[in-house]
Structure formats: C-alpha cells, structure tokens
C-alpha cells in the first residue's frame, strides 16, 4: 500500500515540469556548498538582506523578465530574437524623456546644472515609464503582426527588429549615450526594500503573467496552438490572435527588462544594453523545460532556468574563475542541457521511475 503511494509521488515528481530545472539548480548550489565556504551567508544592513543568494536572483532579474515573455512566445512554437534590441529601445526612450536636453548642441549654463541634478527629470517618472512600456509593447505588436498575420517565420521576422532595433535606439538618442542622473529611476534597478526592488518587479510581472495564462483560457490556448495548430483551428481557437498576444506581451516584458537594466547602469547604452540577453532568455526557457517546438510551458520553471544560468555565473565568480572563462563554460553547459533535455534522456528517466511503480 505505502509502496505504491510513494512510487506514485516519485514519478509524479520526475514528471513535473519543475523537476529538471530544480535539479540543475540544486546541483549548482551543491557545488557551491562544497567548493565555496560561506557561500550561503546572508547578512543584513540597514534592514536589507545581502548575500550571494540574493545576488543570484537580483542579477537574474533582467533575464527572468525576458524569460517570462519568451516562454509564451516559445510555447506557441516561435521565438523572439529581438528582445535585447527592444531593451535598448526602451532604455533610449526612457532616457530621452527624462533628459531631452542632451540632444541640444548648445546649452545655456543653468540648464547644464539641471541635467546632472539627481532630482531633475523632464517628464514625471510615471509618464516616462508609461511611454516606455507603450513603445515596447508596440515593438512586440510589430513582431506579432509579422509572424501571425504576415506568416513570416518567427526567427526571420524577429531578426529584422533585432537588427534594426539598435539602430532605432541610437536614432532616438542621436547616438548619444545618455547618462541618467534622476535618482528615483535608479531605484528601479538598484533599490532595496529588504530585498532588491527588481525582485518585486519580477514577482509582479510573474503574477500578472500567471493570472493571464492560468486564470483565463489563454494559457491553455497557447499550449494547444503550440502542440497542434490544425487541431486547435478545428476546435475554434483563433491562432493568430493568440500568437499576436504572445509576441506583444514578450515585447512588454522586454521593455520592463530594459528599464531595470538601464537603471542598473544609469545609462541608455544603445550599443551594448541587452546584447546576447535574448540568447540567455531562450536558454532559460529551454532549461525550464518548454520545448522549442511549442506546447506545454511553465513560467516558474523558466524563472528557475534564469536562476540556474545566473547561479553558474555567480558560482564561477565565487570560485575565482575569471570572467573570460565564463562564456566558454556557458557554451558547454548549453550543450549539456540540450542533450539532457532531449527526448531520449527524458523518456529514459521517466520510464525507469515508471518501472519502479510496476
């Protein structure tokens, strides 16, 4: 009696979508536990928590935000390569709204003083954020229209914005890398309320996404479209609108990520902001168990995937691996993860645990 009950739980655990990413995370943390003494120490300062673990989730917040949006897109069977570029566009829009004087060639001296004043912003913060998010959403909408209505391959369609996006971001600021002095803006990425503020942002976006997908029929429709679009069509699901929604939401998430990232470095760096972040986001989603061909997805697992990636980075730093070696290791990890996630291995593990039941 009790034996069958425990094996039922075992296969239920291994079958759950969160299983593999958590195992991966656990392995890395285990490595840390052994290799780095004091890794898990959490200290408090002025009521806020600090420590390596906090660092991991904080530095992962950009990729976490991207991964939330990317999960929906990948679940419909597509991909969005332009999220890094959209981040740059968002950062440029925000910076120019706070400080359009930067574009002028000649400035009267009293304005000059204003610009570096930490309390100065041309537009109030809520306008800055609102306009930025609207612009980012439009970018996502553009991608969605190309993919869903223009019937262009997702990789190709988003490649265009990825390519042009940085050009557009530079266009907005006329090539100037705008420094952001406005303090409240910096709080987005650097602020701390017991826990880093960006964590709260991630949590809020996650909750919104979760409500949107699991408390409405949208999540089920996305999974249906990603698994079998013809059957979904026969069942009356409007594939085009679902895909449009997914890409639009992904653009919005990229905009939020752009705000967080640019507030972290207090710059709108159109050239470098978000570079290769889209690849990190895709990797996070893949580690989180969503298949690139589409279908079942789990937002939480994708965030855990983002943590895994960041944990690798932080652990390597903690161990003393120099920065340059990190990329090579990332490449190896990707291969490892991909092979691990291939149908064969997964099926193998599940068959073994299922056999134990029998």
């Amino acid at each position: 009696m009790s034996k069958s009950k425990s094996s039922f739980t075992l296969s239920k655990i291994t079958g759950s979508s969160l299983f593999f990413p958590f195992v991966a995370l656990a392995l890395i943390l285990l490595f840390d536990l052994i290799a780095v003494p004091g890794f898990f120490r959490i200290s408090t300062r002025e009521g806020n928590l600090y420590g390596n673990l906090i660092d991991i989730v904080r530095n992962a917040s950009t990729v976490s935000l991207l991964a939330i949006g990317m999960t929906l897109v990948i679940a419909t069977g597509g991909v969005d390569l332009s999220v890094g570029a959209v981040m740059a566009i968002a950062a440029s829009v925000a910076a120019i709204l706070m400080n359009p004087y930067v574009l002028a060639t000649e400035l009267p001296p009293h304005i000059l003083k204003f610009m570096s004043d930490p309390n100065f912003t041309y537009q109030p913060l809520w306008v800055v954020i609102l306009v930025t998010l609207i612009v980012a959403t439009i970018c996502g909408l553009w991608n969605g229209l190309l993919v869903a209505y223009g019937k262009i391959q997702p990789m190709v369609a988003t490649l265009i914005l990825m390519y042009a996006g940085r050009g557009i971001a530079q266009l907005i600021t006329n090539g100037v890398r705008i420094q952001i002095f406005y303090e409240p803006y910096a709080f987005i990425g650097q602020g701390w309320i017991i826990l880093p503020f960006s964590l709260y942002i991630v949590a809020i976006v996650f909750v919104i996404a979760w409500l949107l997908t699991r408390k409405t029929a949208i999540g089920m429709f996305i999974e249906s479209v990603g698994t079998n679009s013809r059957s979904s069509f026969f069942s009356g699901i409007n594939e085009k609108r679902i895909k449009l929604l997914a890409y639009t939401f992904c653009g919005l998430c990229a905009g939020i990520a752009g705000l967080v990232a640019s507030s972290n470095i207090k710059t709108s760096d159109a050239f470098n902001l978000g570079v290769t972040k889209e690849l990190d986001a895709i990797l996070a989603v893949v580690i989180g168990g969503t298949l690139m061909s589409g279908g079942r997805f789990s937002l939480l697992a994708s965030i855990v995937g983002a943590w895994v990636i960041q944990a690798i980075t932080t652990s390597m730093y903690a161990v003393g691996v120099p920065a340059f070696a990190l990329q090579a290791i990332k490449g190896v990890v990707v291969i490892f993860v991909i092979l691990l996630y291939s149908e064969q291995v997964r099926g193998f593990v599940q068959r073994i645990t299922a056999q134990k039941e029998a």
Binding site: K215, T216, A217, I218, M220, F221, E223, S224, T227, N228, R230, S231, S232, F233, F234, S235, G236, I237, N238, G295, R296
Partner: protein, 525 residues
C-alpha cells in the same frame, strides 16, 4: 433483383492456393501479420503479384493497404509471415534496400525535391560527371531521353520540378524509380488523387507501356472506375484482413463494393430489415439549408436540408467528397458557390469558431491532424471547443472542467486512469471518444460526425450509434458519415449518396443496402 450470390464460389474466384505455377509470381507475401499498439493492422494477409501485371489494391480506411505496402518496401517489418521475391525468400531492411531489390514506390506526396530541376530529380546521386564535376548537358540529355523513351513524355527537363503540375511530377518520380534500379516492381500509392481526366489517361498510357515491358505494377486507389479501367487483378482488404483477390473482368462492380464495405450479399436482406423508427419527432422547419453549395475541386454544388430531430447519413466511397462536405458545412473551407442558411440566417463568416457559435459541431475524420492535441490532458481536450466558444476570459473553473470531463468519460466509457492523463497515452479508439466528447460538450444543435466510430470496438460502436439517435430524439440534427454502410443504415433517417465529389441521390425512409451500393457503384452493377 438478382439472387444473392455467395462470394466464395463461381465468378469471384479467389486465387488463394490456386493452380497457377509459382514462377508466374514475382512477389509472394504469405501470412503477413502486423500489429501496432492498440490495433491489428494486418492479420494473416496473403498477397501475390504476377510478373507484368497491373494489380490494384482497394479498401476503405483502416483496411491495411498502406501497412501492407510499408511491409513490402521495408518501412515496417512484419510480425509474422514470409516475403518471397522471384522465388527467393527476402527480408527487406529499409526503403533503400527495397529499391536495390527492384521494388520502387511513388508515394502520394511525390517525395522528390520541387526546388531542383526535373533532370536533377531523376538523376541526383548518380549524375553523369565529367572530370569529377557534374555534366549538366549530359544529365539533361539523359533525363529527357529517358522520359521520352520509356514514358513518352516530352518536357523541358531543365525547369524546376515544382513548376510542373502534379501529374508531371509523378512522371518524374516514376522515371527516377525506374532509372535507379531498373525496377521490376513499381508501387503507385494513390497516384490519381490530384490528376484530372487527361493526366490520368496519360498516366495509364505510361502504365500500360511499362506493363508491356514486363514491369509489375501495384496500384493503390479508391477510384473504382479506374480500377476497372486499368487493372488486371484486384485485391480487396477490409479491417486488416484479406477479403480476396479477383480477376478484374470477373467481378462485377456491385460485388466489389459489397466486398469492400458491406457484408456478403446473403446477409443484405437481413440487414435491410433492421430499422429504428425514431422518425416521429422530426420537425418541419429546416435547421440547416444548403443550396448550390460547392467548392471547386472539393465538392460539386449540392442542395441539402437538415431538420431538427433527424439523422442524415452520407454514404459513398473514400474520396467521394464526404469529408469535404463536412468541412464546408462546418466552415473549415469557404465555399465558392451557393448559400448556406442555419436557423434561417444566411452564413457569411465561414470559420470553425463561427460555426461553434451557431451551434454547429464537426467531429473530424482525421483524428491525429484535426482532432487531438496530444500533449494536453483528456479533460483539456474535452472542454477545448467549449472554451474556445466562451473566449479567452470566461474560463471554466477547474471544478466545472472536471465535472464536464467526468460526465463524458462516463457517458462514452472512455478508458483512462484519470481525466488528467495526457491524451496521447490513450488508445486510438479512446482518443476518438475524447474527440466525440469534445463536440458533444459544446451542446450543438447540428452535429456532423465524420467516421466517428473508426477504431472503436464493436460494442462501443453500437453505443455511439444509439447515442446519435438519442441526440436526434432530443431535437438535434445529426449528419452521420461513415464508410460502413450498415451503421449508416442503422442510424439514419435519410441517406445522401456521393460519388466522385458529387451528390448522386438521396434516399428517404426505408432503403436497403443494395440500392445504396448500386447508387455508389454508378453506371454498371
């Protein structure tokens, strides 16, 4: 009316264990069994192919035609049984191996590369070369010559294959098949589905020419007219078993159809007496009215009226337009002629979602491609269409979903450990029931069922037929499409007969199977 004739004697002589000497046969398949999870695709099938003959294989869905060919060409391996080629027993290891043995197949999807030229498609992998580089001139000349000599086709072989109509593409595929292994056996899988009359005639000319050169051709088709036009012998399969192999000249059309879809003729009289009289609650007004509704290339314009409380059966062979009618009525395809009225309102928007909103439901024929979403659970599959109709935001609560799912699991006796089982783990028959449940859950007033009992065991079939009739009793209108005549007869109040994508006639009330089969068979009987 002719006296009932028993299949197993006189004219329709089977050749099993016959007096023919063995070296007339180039291929012998004896006692072939093949099972897939959940279904016995072939059981104890014998198949004998003579040299230089054109041999047709016919049968309805699930008969086992494609599985038999897959076994012969090495795509699948048989569970039991032997295959002999030219007197020697062989094991076909792969499609490439089959080609080397001289068995070539031209599939329905052509399986060539449309972006390459015709000549390349015929010769790629074995192109003539000069000093190591491809000799285009020689290749084009060789291909053109080959097509001309062996197939009597004269085309510009330098053009891309994809720019030619399907008929020519097929010729190229045949040419490659012959060229590669100087094939002695050519298998043509549904070659005429996309051809018009002229192209079919062209193909037949080619086939006759090849036959005269000693090539044995296996011709799989569902067009009975063509079977009679071109083939020497016919093998009939039904539900995985061999019904028999007959000389084409020796078996009348009606008898052939009877063997394909019906019982033996002796039982016909019995069947025609079984009728349920539930026709009393058929109301007057038409729920659905189609006038001149048609789609070019799919179904000729037809008229149809459907009343509340009645079951309309659609009978006809595979390819006669059954599925196409269903799809047009449900809005999967937009018709290009005629009008459709539902509830006396003309239909302007043709889409599945709009149809569901109007109370029309289609349980489609292709379970895998148009039916199940295999990664989702049974529960999700069942409520899918209902949810689509409610839109994104009126999400059924978990409790509601489970209620609905459990209700239909019980009603249709779906065998599943729980409602949260991914539907891909269920057997084919149970998957079919899940799809049926999905459409029942939308509470339609017009329910179109395209082969709803395919793959379902006998007991369950009867239950579903009873279910359809009880739906009619409740006041719904049903369209029941099936290739099994007996169940169409048993469940329908009226029967519409299709042939060659055209509505032939309608039978109301009492009709016996023979009349229907005559209508299906067409000109001669």
């Amino acid at each position: 009316m002719r006296p009932p004739v028993d299949c197993d004697d006189t004219l329709g002589q089977t050749v099993r264990g016959s007096m023919m000497s063995d070296n007339d046969y180039i291929v012998e398949m004896k006692g072939i069994d093949k099972a897939f999870p959940g279904v016995q695709a072939l059981s104890k099938v014998d198949f004998f192919l003579k040299r230089g003959e054109i041999h047709a294989i016919v049968g309805e869905n699930g008969a086992g035609k494609s599985t038999l060919i897959k076994v012969l060409t090495g795509v699948e391996k048989q569970d039991t049984g032997r295959i002999t080629l030219d007197g020697k027993e062989i094991t076909v290891k792969s499609p490439l191996h089959a080609q080397e043995l001289g068995i070539s197949t031209v599939y329905q999807e052509i399986n060539l590369c449309p972006n390459l030229s015709v000549a390349e498609n015929i010769l790629i992998g074995r192109e003539p070369r000069r000093l190591g580089s491809v000799n285009w001139k020689a290749m084009n000349a060789q291909a053109k010559e080959f097509l001309l000599q062996r197939l009597n086709i004269d085309i510009d072989v330098t053009q891309k294959l994809g720019s030619y109509p399907v008929a020519i593409q097929q010729m190229a595929a045949i040419a490659r098949a012959l060229e590669i292994s100087s094939a002695r056996i050519l298998i043509l899988d549904e070659p005429t589905s996309s051809l018009d009359v002229h192209e079919t005639a062209q193909l037949f000319q080619v086939m006759r020419k090849l036959k005269s050169e000693g090539v044995a051709i296996i011709f799989i088709t569902h067009f009975i007219d063509q079977v009679y036009e071109i083939s020497d012998r016919i093998t009939v399969l039904r539900n995985g078993s061999l019904v028999g192999t007959f000389e084409t000249v020796g078996i009348p059309r009606l008898e052939l159809i009877a063997k394909m879809i019906g019982r033996s003729l002796t039982e016909l009289d019995e069947m025609s007496k079984i009728k349920l009289e539930s026709g009393k609650h058929i109301r007057g007004e038409a729920l659905l009215q189609a006038e001149g509704l048609g789609l070019t290339g799919a179904i000729e314009p037809f008229d149809l009226a459907l009343h509340a409380g009645e079951v309309l059966g659609i009978a006809g062979l595979l390819g006669s337009g059954r599925t196409e009618i269903a799809q047009v009525l449900f809005g999967v395809e937009k018709p290009d002629s005629g009008t459709l009225e539902i509830d006396e309102k003309e239909v302007k928007r043709f889409s599945p979602l709009a149809s569901i909103g109007r109370g029309v439901a289609l349980c489609p024929e292709d379970r895998k491609e148009a039916g199940i979403v295999d990664d989702l659970t049974v529960r999700e599959n069942i409520i899918l269409a209902l949810q689509a109709n409610r839109g994104w935001f009126r999400y059924l609560s978990m409790q509601q979903q489970h209620e609905i799912a459990d209700r239909y699991i019980e009603l249709l006796n779906i065998a599943t450990p729980s409602a949260d089982q991914p539907v891909k783990n269920l057997s084919g028959g149970n998957q079919q029931k899940v799809i049926l449940a999905r459409w029942l859950a939308t509470n339609p007033q017009i329910l179109i069922l395209d082969e709803p009992t395919r793959g379902i065991d006998v007991g369950a079939k009867a239950e579903i037929q009873k279910l359809v009739l009880s739906l009619a009793e409740e006041g719904k209108a049903c369209v029941f499409i099936s290739s099994e005549l007996e169940e169409v007869l048993r469940t329908s109040h009226r029967i519409m007969v299709l042939r060659d994508r055209e509505k032939v006639t309608e039978f109301s009330g009492e009709v016996d199977e023979q009349e229907i089969m005559q209508a299906i068979a067409g000109s001669e009987s």
